[in-house]
Symmetry: C2
Subunit: 149 residues, 2 copies
């Protein structure tokens, strides 16, 4: 399967058509959400360039673009926590991607949690807010990222 992107057409074509015409931003990137294909847990949000989106569709494994390292990365390349992609979805404007994935290993988050969204905003008891961790870590990142702390 070879992935080619269509030109952005009319409003109606983009929103309800069948042509894959993703909108990349000024930096050539599109936001990508990964959620668990089984129970719907949102695991992470990252970015893709055109190459990463094509690689994700063509290989069935999640690829992203690292804005800090300025390189494409295959999720799980270091940790083994690969994401097998069941579905690649586009939103109505085709300016966001949703991956429905089977997350291999204990979690998607390099901090050690299953999901990167492991903290909720909660009252701090003094009229303000604080972040509160929603559950325990799923693994010890030091044991997984031996060479890349």
């Amino acid at each position: 399967m070879t992935v080619e992107f269509a030109a952005r057409g009319s409003h109606a074509e983009i929103e309800e058509g069948t042509a894959l015409a993703p909108k990349f931003d000024a930096d050539g990137l599109i936001p990508a959400i990964a959620s668990d294909a089984g129970d719907g847990t949102v695991l992470m949000m990252a970015w893709m360039n055109a190459e990463a989106l094509k690689a994700t569709i063509e290989t069935g494994e999640a690829h992203y673009w690292s804005r800090s390292r300025r390189e494409m990365w295959r999720k799980g390349g270091t940790s083994g926590h690969v994401q097998k992609v069941r579905e690649v979805r586009l939103d109505c404007d085709q300016d966001a991607v949703l991956l429905l994935v089977e997350q291999e290993g204990p979690g998607a988050c390099h901090v050690g949690y299953r999901s990167c969204f492991f903290r909720r905003v909660a009252p701090d008891g003094a009229g303000g807010v604080r972040l509160e961790t929603t559950g325990p870590k799923a693994y010890d990142p030091k044991a997984v990222y031996k060479t890349k702390p």
Copy 2:
């Protein structure tokens, strides 16, 4: 409850601390995902500025920033499809927001679907790909957006 954002601290403080220190991009925006608090369906992805994030936390209803209209909007202000926010979560880097919401009305998507992510990438039968709609519309947008088509 008054929301104030903390300054961005050390790597460890941002990733595992209790201070709410969201990272807004060069345009002052942070990506925000809304997912159904009940079954985990990812409903939409939009953007928030600082004001929208504060309003969301303080009111318990989702507010976003419209990049095209350049204004804050309360989700459901026109359609009545308000999002009651059960939890506001931040990811490890605090550069993405996840809302766990109760979506009022039949859907979050202005095109008429429950979720904006109503199309999946599928083989087109000729070695390429096409978008395929995953299910029927949940409502008729023409009937809902009478004055704003």
